[in-house]
Each structure stands twice: as structure tokens, then as C-alpha cells.
């Protein structure tokens, strides 16, 4: 299931609800992306980030996320998939995105979780804007996100 929403969500409650109930499932993998409170890659001495705003392309976002979910289900034998992605302004520490996958076996859950977040980073139409003491700016796309996404292009069906 795909959810695109502005309001903050409760990571623990979402995962608990998703994990609930079925004895068919042997493994649950999750990834949560959080707003960091510093600029760039290295926290020490980095300028602080006060807030992050995610703009998105309503309509195309849902469409792309549904495609990515369908691709994950095609590649792995999954019991369920949940992707929640927020847009709008958010504070450091808040969740931006949650990916959950369940499967009879752990490798399918873990690999598909990584796949989903990697593809989502390069295929879902979101744009980040950081607020810093020296002004606001749009976050640039990262080459290593492209690499992480591209490595799945060659994965054979399973």
C-alpha cells in the first residue's frame, strides 16, 4: 500500500499495525528516513538545518510509488508492502519516509526493502528544500543515489 501525506506519522504505530497478526509471515523489514539536523554528509561542525520542506508532484508521485511497489512484488515473494512518504515542511528528527515489507523469508523482506528505498530515491517526484541560518536551498541529487538505484536494474527475476 502507498500513502502520500503531509501529516507526521507514528513510526512505531505504523510498524506495529503492519507487523500485526499473520502467522504466514516470517520476517518484517523496515526502513525509516528521518530529517537530519545538519547540512551535508558529516555532522561535526556542519551548519544546522532548521527544517526540511518536501515538494512533490501530486498524481505522478502516487503513480510512480505504485509502480515501484508493483516491481518489488514482481521480483520478490512478498506478503505485504507499505510505503508512506510525506510532503510539506518537517522538523529535524521527524520521519520523511517509511518502507515496510513482509515475507515468509527474511532475505526477500530485507532485499525488497532496500530496493524500494533505492528506487524511490531516484524515481519518485519529490524535491527537498533545506532551511539553514544562511538561507534556504534546494538539495541536489546525489550520484551515489543513482548508483544505488542502478544496481537493481540488472537484478534478474526471482
Amino acid at each position: 500500500m502507498i500513502r502520500v501525506q503531509q501529516t507526521v506519522f507514528d513510526v512505531g504505530a505504523e510498524i506495529a499495525a503492519f507487523t500485526q497478526g499473520t502467522g504466514r509471515v516470517g520476517g518484517v523489514a523496515t526502513f525509516t528516513g528521518l530529517v537530519r539536523d545538519y547540512l551535508g554528509e558529516v555532522p561535526d561542525g556542519a551548519p544546522p538545518v532548521r527544517a526540511l520542506t518536501l515538494e512533490h508532484y501530486p498524481g505522478m508521485t502516487e503513480r510512480q510509488l505504485e509502480r515501484i511497489e508493483a516491481e518489488a512484488r514482481r521480483r520478490w515473494d512478498l506478503a505485504d508492502v507499505l510505503v508512506i512518504h510525506r510532503f510539506g515542511r518537517m522538523a529535524p528528527g521527524e520521519p520523511i519516509v517509511l518502507v515496510c515489507t513482509t515475507s515468509a523469508h527474511r532475505t526477500a523482506a530485507l532485499e525488497s526493502c532496500q530496493f524500494l528505498i533505492d528506487w524511490l530515491k531516484t524515481r519518485a517526484p519529490f524535491w527537498k528544500r533545506e532551511e539553514t541560518p544562511s538561507g534556504d536551498h534546494w538539495v541536489e541529487a546525489r550520484a551515489d543515489d543513482d548508483d544505488a538505484s542502478a544496481r537493481w536494474d540488472d537484478v534478474p527475476d526471482r
Binding site: L54, Y57, G59, M60, V97, P125, W127, A141
Partner: protein, 84 residues
């Protein structure tokens, strides 16, 4: 045809959405449309100054420069995505 702009393309152009009713008939691809838009004034010229930084979607599918825009309902321009 509805044309959408996101992120800094929208900041440069000053609007997130406009409707183009009478495109010249020789504008048939994404590439043609980008060229035509960047001739509409300095704000557009600046937004499209580096085509390598601009991505496009035609009717909500990612589209390369050679994709047809003729007949499209919605074309969007934006920088490389940074979600997740």
C-alpha cells in the same frame, strides 16, 4: 496543454503551472518545447539554461528529450528528484 514547474524551476519562472493553448506546430518533442519555453523571456532562459539539470514528465511519466508532447495533456519540468 498544462505545463508544470517544480522546485527551483518554479522559483525561477515564478509560477508552478500555466496553460499553453496555441503551441507552434513545429513543437513536437520535449526538446522542442524546452527550446521554445526558454525563448519566452529571461526567467525561462535562466530556468532552462542547463538542460542537463532539467528532467521532464509527459502525462506523469518520465520523458526523455525526444518524447512526443503533441497531444499531451500535461508536461512537467523539474530538477533531478531528491525524495526518500
Amino acid at each position: 496543454m498544462k505545463v508544470l514547474y517544480f522546485a527551483w524551476l518554479r522559483d525561477f519562472i515564478g509560477t508552478g503551472e500555466e496553460t499553453l493553448d496555441a503551441l507552434p506546430p513545429q513543437i513536437t518533442t520535449v526538446c522542442d518545447l524546452m527550446g521554445w519555453l526558454s525563448g519566452r523571456g529571461p526567467a525561462y532562459a535562466r530556468a532552462f539554461a542547463d538542460p542537463a539539470l532539467v528532467r521532464c514528465a509527459v502525462d506523469q511519466d518520465f520523458a526523455g528529450l525526444d518524447v512526443e508532447v503533441t497531444g499531451a495533456r500535461e508536461v512537467a519540468f523539474f530538477p533531478p528528484v531528491t525524495g526518500g
